[in-house]
């Protein structure tokens, strides 16, 4: 399995900051767009709910992302359904063990710590979708779903992953922060892109010149 090599985050963040500062002049003008509207104003359109300007469902925050992967649906489903594969593209997940319907996730925490999350598979439709939910009484209240659909024009498969969670606040918030390490939307986006890289190219792209110690 390819090592997961990522540039030092601090470096990337420093660049991100400098890029963002450069953009401030251009971006300021569009800030008003995102203010002053609330959910009641939202008329029905065909976009996924999570792309709304205030994507909240009761207590839950919902993040999600779609990518098209140039591989057949059954291959992608099979790779994902073999849950021990997930750490190959999920940066913070050390291991996933499945016993029956239960998944036990070992998640990397800060400073060498690790953390266990238990979820139950709540839906599993072959070559179509897999969904899981944290087991009642967990510190973390979260639900996830991944869907596989044929892409148009022979482009492969559209893969859509959605994660719902109760956003930070109190003990659960700290646990969530530990679970995702970064903002869940960012984390989810990265994981899906790494999944695409791994399935299309057999490896995860890195600019590193040397293996991490």
């Amino acid at each position: 399995m390819p090592p997961k090599n990522t540039p030092p985050h601090s470096a990337v963040r420093a660049v991100a900051v400098s890029v963002c500062v450069g953009l401030l002049a251009a971006g300021a003008a569009s800030l008003w767009l995102s203010s002053g509207r609330n959910r009641q104003d939202r008329r029905a359109d065909d976009a996924p709910g999570r792309t709304g300007r205030l994507p909240r469902y009761g207590d839950y925050a919902v993040v999600g992302k779609t990518v098209t992967i140039n591989s057949p649906r059954h291959e992608l489903y099979a790779f994902w359904r073999e849950f021990k594969n997930l750490p190959r593209f999920m940066e913070n997940v050390e291991a996933v063990e499945a016993s029956g319907d239960t998944l036990v996730w070992t998640i990397r925490g800060p400073a060498g710590s690790s953390y266990t999350l238990r979820t139950r598979i709540i839906s599993d439709r072959k070559n179509e979708q897999i969904a899981w939910r944290s087991i009642d009484g967990s510190d973390i209240d979260t639900e996830g779903k991944v869907m596989f659909r044929d892409a148009p024009g022979g482009r492969g498969t559209e893969v859509e992953a959605i994660i719902a969670y109760v956003p930070p606040g109190g003990a659960a918030g700290r646990a969530i922060a530990r679970l995702f390490r970064r903002e869940p939307a960012v984390q989810g986006r990265h994981e899906l892109k790494r999944f695409k890289m791994l399935m299309e190219t057999g490896e995860v792209a890195t600019a590193n010149n040397r293996k991490l110690a």
Binding site: G22, L23, T201, V204, A205
Partner: protein, 389 residues
């Protein structure tokens, strides 16, 4: 190993850094035998492309000998290869369409985050070209780790010298694609702004593709002379009214296709360019688009704009009205290098394209900072710098 590293505007140094190693299965490591400085490197040198970090290894035009291969590489140790500056996986939707510089997978996910807000999409990976395109260590070095080595590098047969094939890495296919993007028809005039390496190869390519005439525009006499050697007519914009001259030289039509081989750092003291320069200096992401503006005004009605010149941010005073009302078409992009490698290698072998005429200086890698200083500051004489580690 020794490598040229970036430390800030006009500050590049040759330093000792760790050797690269194989990381991913499809990787190879090559020992560089020749590497060049590109006009694109000057945009980094001038600090007008964001996303550079101190210590980044520069260089995206390089070739060498394979010294290590990952288990999924198809290269063999000892083979001589030229490496495209575009890092492309060969498997994604864009690579399958031969849009290699749009590869979805080569830019690591963390750095994809930098260009998604800036450009709406993440860019592909490029060697030695800022963290916007992955922050990959570049080729002005003794060794380079080359990802996807089973699809990118082109193997060079014996009998062709390094200098003959080195530019397959970038500027030759870039000039070629620039001409291809002109959709040249019989009787066409193609006007080329900029007689740097890209412009010079665009001149040569447009003539091979059957342009009736190519008119090249610059202000450096020696660079204009090189363009003329390849059969271009030339205009020195310091002494001639470019727009008027182009109309007169095309029977009152204007050029059928125009190529901007200047990019975001146009020279000149026209009012638009002075204002652009001021904005670029304070760093608000403004590009200097004087050559492009002029090219759009010059282009005949219904004509084509081809823009290999690199831009990074925003442009104002853009003659959008002229563009729309004249019904122009516009094609651009980082070059899809891998698409052209084989065909151009054949043309070099058959002597159809001349690739070495523009090399003015040969230096060692240790002299790279001097190479940058002069390629930047003495453009008339320093037309292309090739270095050997």
């Amino acid at each position: 190993m020794r490598a040229l590293t970036y430390h800030g505007t006009h500050d590049v140094r040759v330093e000792t850094v760790p050797d690269p190693e194989i990381i991913n299965p499809r990787d190879a490591v090559i020992e560089v035998t020749a590497t060049a400085i590109c006009g694109s490197d000057l945009h980094l040198y001038d600090g007008v492309i964001p996303g550079m970090m101190p210590g980044d290894i520069l260089g995206h035009e390089f070739m060498g000998r394979v010294v290590e291969t990952g288990p999924a590489s198809t290269l063999k140790k000892g083979q001589r290869v030229v490496v495209p500056f575009t890092i492309s996986c060969g498997k994604c939707f864009h690579c399958m369409k031969q849009q290699y510089s749009a590869c979805d997978n080569s830019n690591p996910v963390e750095t994809q985050d930098l260009t998604e807000p800036l450009y709406g999409h993440a860019l592909s990976g490029l060697f030695g070209y800022s963290h916007l395109t992955g922050g990959y260590p570049g080729g002005q070095a003794q060794y380079v780790r080359v990802p996807y080595s089973d699809v990118g590098p082109i193997v060079i047969p014996d009998g062709l010298e390094d200098e003959q094939v080195l530019f397959l890495s970038d500027i030759l296919p870039t000039g070629w694609m620039a001409a291809e993007n002109c959709d040249i028809e019989e009787g066409d005039t193609v006007a080329v702004w900029g007689c740097g390496p890209v412009g010079l190869f665009a001149v040569q390519s447009a003539l091979i593709m059957g342009a009736h005439q190519v008119i090249a525009i610059d202000h450096y006499p020696h660079r204009l002379e090189l363009a003329r050697k390849f059969g271009a007519k030339v205009i020195d914009y310091r002494q001639t009214h470019v727009l008027e001259a182009l109309m007169e030289m095309t029977g009152g039509f204007g050029p059928d296709a125009v190529i901007d081989a200047v990019g975001m750092e146009s020279h000149g003291l026209t009012p638009d360019n002075v204002l652009d320069r001021a904005k670029q200096t304070v760093g608000i992401g403004a590009d200097r688009g004087h050559a492009l503006r002029q090219a759009i005004l010059a282009c005949r009605k219904g004509g084509r704009i081809s823009m290999p010149g690199v831009y990074g941010g925003f442009l104002d005073k853009f003659p959008l009205g002229a563009f729309m009302e004249k019904g122009l078409q516009w094609r651009t992009g980082q070059t899809h290098v891998q698409k052209y490698s084989k065909d151009l290698l054949r043309r070099i072998g058959e002597g159809e394209v001349d690739t070495t005429f523009l090399i003015s200086h040969r230096l060692s890698l240790e002299e790279a900072p001097e190479g940058y200083r002069n390629f930047h500051g003495n453009q008339n004489e320093w037309t292309k710098v090739v270095m050997t580690p």
